[in-house]
Protein backbone atom coordinates (compact mmCIF):
# COMPACT_ATOMS: atom_id res chain seq x y z
CA UNK A 1 0.00 0.00 0.00
CA UNK A 2 2.89 2.34 0.81
CA UNK A 3 4.21 1.92 -2.74
CA UNK A 4 0.83 3.03 -3.96
CA UNK A 5 1.11 6.25 -1.96
CA UNK A 6 4.47 7.01 -3.61
CA UNK A 7 3.23 6.50 -7.14
CA UNK A 8 1.02 9.59 -7.15
CA UNK A 9 3.60 12.13 -5.98
CA UNK A 10 6.22 10.73 -8.38
CA UNK A 11 3.75 10.78 -11.25
CA UNK A 12 2.75 14.34 -10.36
CA UNK A 13 6.41 15.35 -10.21
CA UNK A 14 7.03 13.92 -13.66
CA UNK A 15 4.00 15.66 -15.13
CA UNK A 16 4.82 19.07 -13.66
CA UNK A 17 8.51 18.86 -14.51
CA UNK A 18 7.66 17.88 -18.07
CA UNK A 19 5.16 20.71 -18.38
CA UNK A 20 7.68 23.17 -17.00
CA UNK A 21 10.34 22.02 -19.44
CA UNK A 22 7.93 22.33 -22.35
CA UNK A 23 6.79 25.83 -21.50
CA UNK A 24 10.23 27.20 -20.71
CA UNK A 25 12.39 26.27 -23.68
CA UNK A 26 15.40 28.54 -23.71
CA UNK A 27 15.18 30.67 -26.79
CA UNK A 28 16.23 34.31 -26.82
CA UNK A 29 15.07 34.91 -23.28
CA UNK A 30 15.84 36.72 -20.07
CA UNK A 31 14.99 35.14 -16.72
CA UNK A 32 11.84 37.24 -16.73
CA UNK A 33 10.85 35.74 -20.10
CA UNK A 34 11.47 32.19 -18.90
CA UNK A 35 9.18 32.74 -15.94
CA UNK A 36 6.49 34.41 -18.05
CA UNK A 37 6.46 32.11 -21.04
CA UNK A 38 2.73 32.77 -21.30
CA UNK A 39 3.49 36.33 -22.48
CA UNK A 40 5.97 35.98 -25.37
CA UNK A 41 6.79 38.72 -27.85
CA UNK A 42 5.11 36.57 -30.54
CA UNK A 43 8.19 37.00 -32.74
CA UNK A 44 10.21 33.93 -33.78
CA UNK A 45 13.45 33.16 -35.62
CA UNK A 46 13.32 30.10 -37.86
CA UNK A 47 16.12 27.96 -39.22
CA UNK A 48 15.22 26.85 -42.77
CA UNK A 49 18.57 25.18 -43.30
CA UNK A 50 19.04 21.43 -43.29
CA UNK A 51 21.13 21.32 -40.12
CA UNK A 52 21.27 22.84 -36.65
CA UNK A 53 22.62 26.38 -36.52
CA UNK A 54 23.87 28.17 -33.41
CA UNK A 55 22.76 31.79 -33.52
CA UNK A 56 24.95 34.03 -31.37
CA UNK A 57 22.80 37.11 -31.20
CA UNK A 58 20.01 39.27 -32.58
CA UNK A 59 20.00 42.94 -33.54
CA UNK A 60 17.70 45.61 -34.89
CA UNK A 61 18.84 45.86 -38.48
CA UNK A 62 16.27 48.44 -39.55
CA UNK A 63 14.13 50.53 -37.22
CA UNK A 64 10.95 52.32 -38.25
CA UNK A 65 7.88 53.80 -36.60
CA UNK A 66 4.15 53.89 -37.21
CA UNK A 67 1.23 55.54 -35.51
CA UNK A 68 -0.63 53.20 -33.12
CA UNK A 69 -3.23 51.29 -35.11
CA UNK A 70 -1.25 51.37 -38.36
CA UNK A 71 0.43 48.34 -39.91
CA UNK A 72 4.00 48.08 -41.17
CA UNK A 73 3.39 48.47 -44.91
CA UNK A 74 4.80 52.01 -45.09
CA UNK A 75 6.48 52.98 -41.81
CA UNK A 76 8.78 55.95 -41.31
CA UNK A 77 12.36 54.68 -41.29
CA UNK A 78 14.53 55.93 -38.43
CA UNK A 79 17.61 54.08 -39.62
CA UNK A 80 18.02 51.82 -42.59
CA UNK A 81 19.39 48.31 -42.89
CA UNK A 82 21.60 49.55 -45.71
CA UNK A 83 24.07 50.63 -43.04
CA UNK A 84 24.43 46.99 -41.93
CA UNK A 85 24.83 48.16 -38.32
CA UNK A 86 24.31 45.88 -35.32
CA UNK A 87 22.42 48.45 -33.23
CA UNK A 88 20.28 46.97 -30.48
CA UNK A 89 22.31 43.77 -30.34
CA UNK A 90 21.58 41.33 -27.52
CA UNK A 91 23.93 38.36 -27.78
CA UNK A 92 23.45 34.82 -26.48
CA UNK A 93 24.22 31.46 -28.08
CA UNK A 94 21.02 29.65 -29.07
CA UNK A 95 21.03 26.45 -31.16
CA UNK A 96 18.10 26.11 -33.56
CA UNK A 97 17.45 22.71 -35.10
CA UNK A 98 16.84 22.28 -38.82
CA UNK A 99 13.36 23.46 -39.76
CA UNK A 100 12.60 24.67 -36.24
CA UNK A 101 11.98 28.10 -34.80
CA UNK A 102 12.67 29.63 -31.40
CA UNK A 103 10.83 32.36 -29.56
CA UNK A 104 12.13 35.79 -28.71
CA UNK A 105 11.11 36.85 -25.22
CA UNK A 106 9.18 40.06 -24.76
CA UNK A 107 11.75 41.42 -22.29
CA UNK A 108 14.62 40.35 -24.54
CA UNK A 109 12.99 42.29 -27.38
CA UNK A 110 12.46 45.30 -25.10
CA UNK A 111 16.20 45.40 -24.39
CA UNK A 112 16.99 45.30 -28.10
CA UNK A 113 14.80 48.33 -28.81
CA UNK A 114 16.01 50.04 -25.63
CA UNK A 115 19.63 50.06 -26.81
CA UNK A 116 18.73 50.69 -30.46
CA UNK A 117 17.11 53.94 -29.29
CA UNK A 118 20.44 54.97 -27.80
CA UNK A 119 22.15 54.30 -31.11
CA UNK A 120 19.68 56.63 -32.80
CA UNK A 121 20.07 59.39 -30.24
CA UNK A 122 23.85 59.33 -30.31
CA UNK A 123 24.68 58.44 -33.87
CA UNK A 124 21.83 59.78 -35.97
CA UNK A 125 19.98 62.39 -33.88
CA UNK A 126 18.62 63.95 -37.05
CA UNK A 127 16.60 60.82 -37.85
CA UNK A 128 12.79 61.01 -37.79
CA UNK A 129 11.49 61.35 -34.24
CA UNK A 130 11.29 58.22 -32.14
CA UNK A 131 11.28 57.80 -28.37
CA UNK A 132 13.80 57.62 -25.56
CA UNK A 133 12.08 54.51 -24.24
CA UNK A 134 10.44 51.75 -26.31
CA UNK A 135 7.07 52.45 -24.68
CA UNK A 136 7.42 56.24 -25.23
CA UNK A 137 6.79 57.20 -21.59
CA UNK A 138 10.07 58.95 -20.78
CA UNK A 139 9.56 62.60 -19.90
CA UNK A 140 10.83 63.93 -23.19
CA UNK A 141 8.78 61.46 -25.26
CA UNK A 142 6.02 63.63 -26.67
CA UNK A 143 4.35 61.11 -28.93
CA UNK A 144 3.52 57.41 -28.77
CA UNK A 145 4.68 55.16 -31.60
CA UNK A 146 4.64 51.51 -32.47
CA UNK A 147 7.68 49.96 -34.15
CA UNK A 148 8.46 48.02 -37.29
CA UNK A 149 11.87 46.32 -37.50
CA UNK A 150 14.06 44.15 -39.63
CA UNK A 151 15.37 41.50 -37.29
CA UNK A 152 19.06 40.72 -37.76
CA UNK A 153 20.64 37.43 -36.66
CA UNK A 154 24.34 36.94 -35.97
CA UNK A 155 26.66 33.97 -36.37
CA UNK A 156 30.04 33.61 -38.03
CA UNK A 157 29.36 32.83 -41.68
CA UNK A 158 32.88 33.38 -42.87
CA UNK A 159 35.87 34.63 -40.97
CA UNK A 160 39.30 35.81 -41.81
CA UNK A 161 42.01 34.79 -39.39
CA UNK A 162 41.67 38.19 -37.70
CA UNK A 163 38.04 37.70 -36.70
CA UNK A 164 37.68 34.92 -34.20
CA UNK A 165 34.82 36.30 -32.09
CA UNK A 166 31.28 34.97 -32.31
CA UNK A 167 29.81 38.44 -32.82
CA UNK A 168 31.05 41.85 -33.96
CA UNK A 169 31.27 44.79 -31.51
CA UNK A 170 28.04 46.56 -30.57
CA UNK A 171 26.78 48.91 -33.29
CA UNK A 172 29.60 48.03 -35.69
CA UNK A 173 28.94 46.55 -39.12
CA UNK A 174 27.55 43.03 -39.11
CA UNK A 175 29.75 42.20 -42.08
CA UNK A 176 32.86 43.78 -43.54
CA UNK A 177 36.16 43.04 -45.18
CA UNK A 178 37.08 39.50 -44.25
CA UNK A 179 34.09 38.67 -42.09
CA UNK A 180 30.35 38.06 -42.28
CA UNK A 181 28.10 37.57 -39.27
CA UNK A 182 24.76 38.02 -41.08
CA UNK A 183 22.67 34.86 -41.14
CA UNK A 184 19.67 36.44 -42.87
CA UNK A 185 19.68 37.50 -46.50
CA UNK A 186 16.02 38.46 -47.01
CA UNK A 187 14.18 40.71 -44.59
CA UNK A 188 10.57 41.67 -44.02
CA UNK A 189 9.10 44.02 -41.46
CA UNK A 190 8.07 42.56 -38.13
CA UNK A 191 5.42 44.57 -36.31
CA UNK A 192 3.73 46.74 -35.35
CA UNK A 193 5.49 46.23 -32.03
CA UNK A 194 4.08 47.90 -28.94
CA UNK A 195 6.06 48.21 -25.72
CA UNK A 196 5.33 48.72 -22.03
CA UNK A 197 7.82 50.73 -19.96
CA UNK A 198 6.39 49.39 -16.69
CA UNK A 199 6.72 45.68 -17.43
CA UNK A 200 9.71 46.23 -19.75
CA UNK A 201 8.19 44.13 -22.51
CA UNK A 202 7.51 44.45 -26.25
CA UNK A 203 5.01 42.38 -28.23
CA UNK A 204 3.19 41.96 -31.53
CA UNK A 205 -0.44 40.87 -31.51
CA UNK A 206 -0.12 37.76 -33.69
CA UNK A 207 2.76 35.39 -34.30
CA UNK A 208 5.36 36.54 -36.85
CA UNK A 209 8.48 34.73 -38.00
CA UNK A 210 11.75 35.83 -39.59
CA UNK A 211 13.55 32.95 -41.28
CA UNK A 212 17.11 32.33 -42.48
CA UNK A 213 18.18 29.76 -45.02
Amino acid sequence: MFKFYLVFPILTLLLITTAFAQTNSMGFMTARDVLHSDSPSNIYLQNNRGSTVTVYGLYVRQYASVEPGQNCTAPEVMYSGVGNITAGAFVAPVAINAGKRVAIGSNYLYNMLYTANYYIQITIPSSPPGCQLPGCTWGSDMHTYNWCIYLGALAPNSNSSDYTASVPPAADAASGVGYNYNLISSYGYLGPISCDDQTLTCTVETQQTQAFS
Binding site: M1, F4, Y5, F8, P9, I10, T12, L13, I16, T17, F20, M26, G27, F28, M29, T30, A31, R32, D33, V34, L35, Y56, G57, A89, F90, V91, A92, P93, G105, N107, Y108, Y110, N111, Y114, T115, N117, Y118, Y119, I122, T123, Q132, L133, T137, W138, G139, D141, D162, Y163, T164, A165, S166, V167, P168, P169, A170, A171, D197, Q198, T199, L200
Partner: protein
Protein backbone atom coordinates in the same frame (compact mmCIF):
# COMPACT_ATOMS: atom_id res chain seq x y z
CA UNK B 1 -13.00 4.73 4.08
CA UNK B 2 -10.08 5.69 6.29
CA UNK B 3 -7.71 4.16 3.77
CA UNK B 4 -9.24 6.28 1.03
CA UNK B 5 -8.87 9.41 3.16
CA UNK B 6 -5.26 8.52 3.88
CA UNK B 7 -4.61 7.91 0.20
CA UNK B 8 -6.03 11.30 -0.70
CA UNK B 9 -4.01 12.94 2.05
CA UNK B 10 -0.78 11.47 0.73
CA UNK B 11 -1.62 12.48 -2.80
CA UNK B 12 -2.42 16.05 -1.78
CA UNK B 13 0.74 16.22 0.31
CA UNK B 14 2.79 14.92 -2.58
CA UNK B 15 1.30 17.43 -4.99
CA UNK B 16 1.82 20.22 -2.49
CA UNK B 17 5.47 19.33 -1.99
CA UNK B 18 6.16 19.06 -5.69
CA UNK B 19 4.35 22.28 -6.57
CA UNK B 20 6.14 24.02 -3.75
CA UNK B 21 9.49 22.73 -4.98
CA UNK B 22 8.66 23.88 -8.48
CA UNK B 23 7.62 27.31 -7.21
CA UNK B 24 10.89 27.52 -5.29
CA UNK B 25 12.78 26.80 -8.49
CA UNK B 26 10.94 29.59 -10.26
CA UNK B 27 11.65 31.98 -7.39
CA UNK B 28 15.34 31.21 -7.73
CA UNK B 29 15.22 32.07 -11.40
CA UNK B 30 13.18 35.19 -10.69
CA UNK B 31 15.81 36.38 -8.27
CA UNK B 32 18.60 36.34 -10.78
CA UNK B 33 19.94 38.55 -13.52
CA UNK B 34 20.14 35.82 -16.12
CA UNK B 35 19.61 35.14 -19.78
CA UNK B 36 18.04 31.87 -20.92
CA UNK B 37 21.55 30.68 -21.74
CA UNK B 38 22.65 31.37 -18.14
CA UNK B 39 19.71 29.47 -16.67
CA UNK B 40 20.21 26.54 -19.00
CA UNK B 41 23.93 26.35 -18.24
CA UNK B 42 23.47 27.30 -14.56
CA UNK B 43 26.27 29.75 -15.20
CA UNK B 44 26.79 32.57 -12.74
CA UNK B 45 29.52 35.14 -13.19
CA UNK B 46 30.46 35.00 -9.49
CA UNK B 47 29.12 38.57 -9.14
CA UNK B 48 25.87 39.21 -7.31
CA UNK B 49 23.70 42.09 -6.11
CA UNK B 50 22.88 41.96 -2.40
CA UNK B 51 19.78 43.53 -0.89
CA UNK B 52 20.82 45.03 2.42
CA UNK B 53 17.75 47.22 2.62
CA UNK B 54 15.84 45.13 5.13
CA UNK B 55 12.85 44.39 2.95
CA UNK B 56 12.12 42.84 -0.42
CA UNK B 57 12.93 45.21 -3.30
CA UNK B 58 11.89 45.06 -6.94
CA UNK B 59 14.86 45.86 -9.18
CA UNK B 60 14.19 46.93 -12.77
CA UNK B 61 17.73 46.63 -14.13
CA UNK B 62 21.49 46.95 -13.74
CA UNK B 63 24.03 49.27 -15.28
CA UNK B 64 27.79 49.94 -15.19
CA UNK B 65 28.55 53.44 -13.85
CA UNK B 66 32.32 53.01 -14.07
CA UNK B 67 34.81 51.12 -16.19
CA UNK B 68 38.48 50.69 -15.39
CA UNK B 69 40.99 48.31 -16.92
CA UNK B 70 43.82 46.37 -15.37
CA UNK B 71 46.29 43.99 -16.94
CA UNK B 72 46.42 40.24 -16.60
CA UNK B 73 49.77 40.62 -14.87
CA UNK B 74 48.64 43.26 -12.33
CA UNK B 75 45.10 42.00 -11.81
CA UNK B 76 44.38 44.92 -9.49
CA UNK B 77 40.76 46.03 -9.06
CA UNK B 78 41.08 47.28 -5.50
CA UNK B 79 39.63 50.69 -6.39
CA UNK B 80 37.38 51.79 -9.23
CA UNK B 81 38.21 55.33 -10.30
CA UNK B 82 36.28 55.49 -13.56
CA UNK B 83 39.54 55.55 -15.49
CA UNK B 84 37.83 54.71 -18.77
CA UNK B 85 34.43 56.17 -18.01
CA UNK B 86 32.68 57.14 -14.79
CA UNK B 87 29.61 58.94 -13.52
CA UNK B 88 26.01 58.04 -12.89
CA UNK B 89 25.07 57.43 -16.50
CA UNK B 90 23.36 54.21 -17.48
CA UNK B 91 25.88 52.74 -19.88
CA UNK B 92 25.83 48.96 -20.13
CA UNK B 93 22.23 48.72 -18.99
CA UNK B 94 20.08 45.62 -19.16
CA UNK B 95 16.55 46.05 -17.86
CA UNK B 96 14.64 43.08 -16.48
CA UNK B 97 12.36 42.90 -13.45
CA UNK B 98 13.92 40.95 -10.57
CA UNK B 99 12.68 40.80 -6.97
CA UNK B 100 15.40 40.42 -4.33
CA UNK B 101 14.33 39.37 -0.85
CA UNK B 102 15.63 41.12 2.26
CA UNK B 103 19.26 40.23 2.92
CA UNK B 104 19.30 38.00 -0.16
CA UNK B 105 21.70 38.12 -3.09
CA UNK B 106 20.73 37.78 -6.75
CA UNK B 107 23.34 36.29 -9.04
CA UNK B 108 24.39 37.88 -12.32
CA UNK B 109 24.71 35.33 -15.10
CA UNK B 110 27.83 35.01 -17.23
CA UNK B 111 26.06 35.88 -20.47
CA UNK B 112 24.01 38.63 -18.82
CA UNK B 113 27.25 40.26 -17.63
CA UNK B 114 28.78 39.85 -21.09
CA UNK B 115 25.88 41.83 -22.58
CA UNK B 116 26.26 44.58 -19.99
CA UNK B 117 29.94 45.04 -20.86
CA UNK B 118 29.25 44.62 -24.59
CA UNK B 119 26.78 47.50 -24.54
CA UNK B 120 28.87 49.42 -22.04
CA UNK B 121 31.78 49.48 -24.49
CA UNK B 122 29.52 51.08 -27.06
CA UNK B 123 28.52 53.66 -24.46
CA UNK B 124 32.22 54.33 -23.77
CA UNK B 125 32.96 54.80 -27.46
CA UNK B 126 30.22 57.42 -27.66
CA UNK B 127 31.21 59.34 -24.55
CA UNK B 128 34.95 59.38 -23.94
CA UNK B 129 35.54 57.80 -27.33
CA UNK B 130 38.20 55.30 -26.37
CA UNK B 131 38.14 51.78 -25.06
CA UNK B 132 41.12 49.43 -24.82
CA UNK B 133 38.91 46.74 -26.36
CA UNK B 134 35.99 46.68 -28.78
CA UNK B 135 34.69 43.39 -27.42
CA UNK B 136 34.48 42.33 -23.74
CA UNK B 137 36.97 39.49 -24.31
CA UNK B 138 39.41 41.77 -26.16
CA UNK B 139 39.58 39.46 -29.20
CA UNK B 140 38.60 41.98 -31.88
CA UNK B 141 41.45 43.04 -34.16
CA UNK B 142 43.32 45.91 -32.52
CA UNK B 143 42.15 45.10 -28.99
CA UNK B 144 44.61 45.17 -26.09
CA UNK B 145 44.49 41.47 -25.38
CA UNK B 146 46.13 41.69 -21.95
CA UNK B 147 43.38 43.89 -20.44
CA UNK B 148 40.76 42.86 -17.90
CA UNK B 149 37.84 44.94 -16.62
CA UNK B 150 37.25 46.50 -13.20
CA UNK B 151 33.64 47.58 -12.79
CA UNK B 152 31.15 49.10 -10.44
CA UNK B 153 27.55 48.05 -10.93
CA UNK B 154 24.44 49.91 -9.81
CA UNK B 155 20.81 48.77 -9.70
CA UNK B 156 17.69 50.72 -10.63
CA UNK B 157 14.27 50.64 -9.01
CA UNK B 158 11.11 52.65 -8.62
CA UNK B 159 10.71 51.37 -5.08
CA UNK B 160 9.62 54.54 -3.29
CA UNK B 161 11.18 53.47 0.01
CA UNK B 162 14.65 53.84 -1.38
CA UNK B 163 14.41 55.87 -4.54
CA UNK B 164 11.99 58.44 -5.81
CA UNK B 165 10.76 59.93 -9.00
CA UNK B 166 8.70 63.06 -9.28
CA UNK B 167 8.99 62.84 -13.01
CA UNK B 168 5.38 62.34 -13.91
CA UNK B 169 4.20 62.99 -17.40
CA UNK B 170 0.43 62.67 -17.37
CA UNK B 171 -1.24 60.41 -18.19
CA UNK B 172 1.80 58.11 -17.94
CA UNK B 173 3.35 57.08 -14.63
CA UNK B 174 7.16 57.12 -14.37
CA UNK B 175 8.80 54.38 -16.42
CA UNK B 176 10.37 51.42 -14.60
CA UNK B 177 13.86 52.52 -15.70
CA UNK B 178 15.49 55.60 -17.24
CA UNK B 179 16.41 55.71 -20.91
CA UNK B 180 19.69 54.06 -21.93
CA UNK B 181 22.64 56.39 -21.33
CA UNK B 182 20.56 58.79 -19.20
CA UNK B 183 21.59 59.52 -15.61
CA UNK B 184 20.46 57.12 -12.91
CA UNK B 185 19.35 60.16 -10.95
CA UNK B 186 18.75 63.76 -11.90
CA UNK B 187 18.53 66.83 -9.69
CA UNK B 188 15.38 68.99 -9.73
CA UNK B 189 16.93 71.39 -12.26
CA UNK B 190 15.98 68.96 -14.99
CA UNK B 191 13.75 66.00 -14.30
CA UNK B 192 13.98 65.38 -10.57
CA UNK B 193 14.17 61.64 -10.35
CA UNK B 194 16.27 58.96 -8.71
CA UNK B 195 16.32 55.34 -9.83
CA UNK B 196 19.66 54.49 -8.17
CA UNK B 197 19.48 51.87 -5.44
CA UNK B 198 23.13 52.49 -4.56
CA UNK B 199 24.34 55.98 -3.80
CA UNK B 200 26.67 56.71 -6.74
CA UNK B 201 29.10 58.46 -4.39
CA UNK B 202 29.81 55.15 -2.67
CA UNK B 203 30.37 53.03 -5.75
CA UNK B 204 33.83 51.58 -6.15
CA UNK B 205 34.95 53.07 -2.84
CA UNK B 206 32.67 52.11 0.06
CA UNK B 207 31.00 49.62 -2.23
CA UNK B 208 32.85 46.94 -4.11
CA UNK B 209 35.06 47.51 -7.11
CA UNK B 210 34.39 44.32 -9.03
CA UNK B 211 36.98 42.36 -10.92
CA UNK B 212 39.21 41.55 -12.62
CA UNK B 213 36.46 40.46 -15.03
CA UNK B 214 37.55 38.03 -17.73
CA UNK B 215 35.38 37.54 -20.82
CA UNK B 216 35.22 35.05 -23.67
CA UNK B 217 34.07 36.31 -27.08
CA UNK B 218 33.37 32.80 -28.37
CA UNK B 219 31.04 31.71 -25.57
CA UNK B 220 29.82 35.27 -24.84
CA UNK B 221 30.46 34.96 -21.12
CA UNK B 222 32.22 36.96 -18.39
CA UNK B 223 33.35 35.85 -14.92
CA UNK B 224 35.41 36.79 -11.89
CA UNK B 225 37.52 34.16 -10.15
CA UNK B 226 36.00 34.45 -6.67
CA UNK B 227 32.52 35.52 -5.44
CA UNK B 228 31.99 39.29 -5.24
CA UNK B 229 28.90 41.36 -4.51
CA UNK B 230 27.59 44.90 -4.76
CA UNK B 231 25.23 45.82 -1.91
CA UNK B 232 22.40 48.34 -1.75
CA UNK B 233 20.83 49.66 1.41
CA UNK B 234 18.78 52.68 2.49
CA UNK B 235 20.46 55.93 1.51
CA UNK B 236 21.93 57.73 4.53
Amino acid sequence: MNKLKNSLLYVCLGISLVVNAQAQEQDDSASAFMTGRDIQANATSNISITNGAGQSVSVSGLFIPSFDATTVEEGDCSVCTGGIVGGDNMGGTIVSPVIIGANKAAAIGQNYLYNMIYNGIYYIRNTVGSSPCQLPGCSWPGDSTDRRWCLSINATSLNASYTYSHYVRAPNPPAAAPAYGAAGSSVPIQFDYNYDLINPNTLGVANACLGPVTCNDQTLTCTVATPQSETFQPWS
